[in-house]
Symmetry: C2
Subunit: 155 residues, 2 copies
């Protein structure tokens, strides 16, 4: 049997368990699922709501557009998350002086309280996640992610 036919007869096979896009997605999904307990189980937030809360907690006041850029969310996700947090009275909107299309979003005391409560939990989640790894493994995942991020168009 000629080599040429040998290599072209058998269909080329992809090993899914070893395929980086799949592994990355599955890993992120597992981590995200675990992490979601912090905002979902305790307060019934969705991920977009959590990110919105987190963005505002971090930056004080932002517009919806800025939120979308900071946390890599589509404008519709932001819009709905903001609406829900407003319904909970966790944030308020205030009109922009110069541009009447724009709204500035700010957490209320209640929103800030929820944020302050979750931040330590989030940090310890990350800490414990990384603590399961050895020193070089930790460095590997962090720098590996950073390297790929740098090469991609994110958000």
């Amino acid at each position: 049997m000629a080599i040429k036919s040998e290599v072209s007869d058998a269909p080329e096979i992809l090993n899914l368990e070893n395929f980086l896009p799949y592994r990355l997605y599955r890993l992120a999904d597992a981590v995200s699922r675990e992490f979601s307990r912090i905002y979902k189980d305790s307060h019934g937030l969705t991920r977009p709501e959590w990110r919105t809360l987190s963005g505002l907690g971090q930056h004080g006041t932002m517009t919806a557009t800025a939120l979308g850029e900071q946390s890599a969310m589509h404008k519709t996700k932001v819009s709905r998350a903001v609406a829900e947090l407003e319904r909970r009275r966790w944030l308020v909107r205030s009109p922009d002086e110069n541009d009447r299309r724009v709204e500035h979003l700010t957490l209320t005391k209640a929103g800030l309280a929820a944020y302050s409560e979750m931040v330590p939990l989030a940090k310890s989640f990350e800490r414990e996640l990384l603590a399961r790894l050895g020193e070089e493994e930790r460095a590997a995942i962090v720098s590996g992610v950073a390297a790929l991020e740098a090469k991609l168009t994110l958000g």
Copy 2:
């Protein structure tokens, strides 16, 4: 101002852009989005459908349960993906001899053809993705992901 009040007054802040669960998710999402062009744009497949095709292409014949385990999908996703691939006549079901609940799934010639067409594209996608990185960066992401996978309950 006493140190104690200094540290407890300001709300602790989480830097989202630096938070591993967020970064991981955003990265996986971006990679997955780019990759999806291979199965979505050309054949209109969803991710579960692609994974199902991929699992069967790789293993020949599988049950729905096995597919779910191999590709980290919930049984409902598998069920719907299988139904769609069957509708396209890309796979067939055959009953199990001993257990009438079980179905064995196999790609048809058409399914296999689609699979064979996509595999090289998938491989070159991964290759080119990794080619954007330097040697150590490549090693870092691969071993970092592997390390985290090992510590988590996946799927």
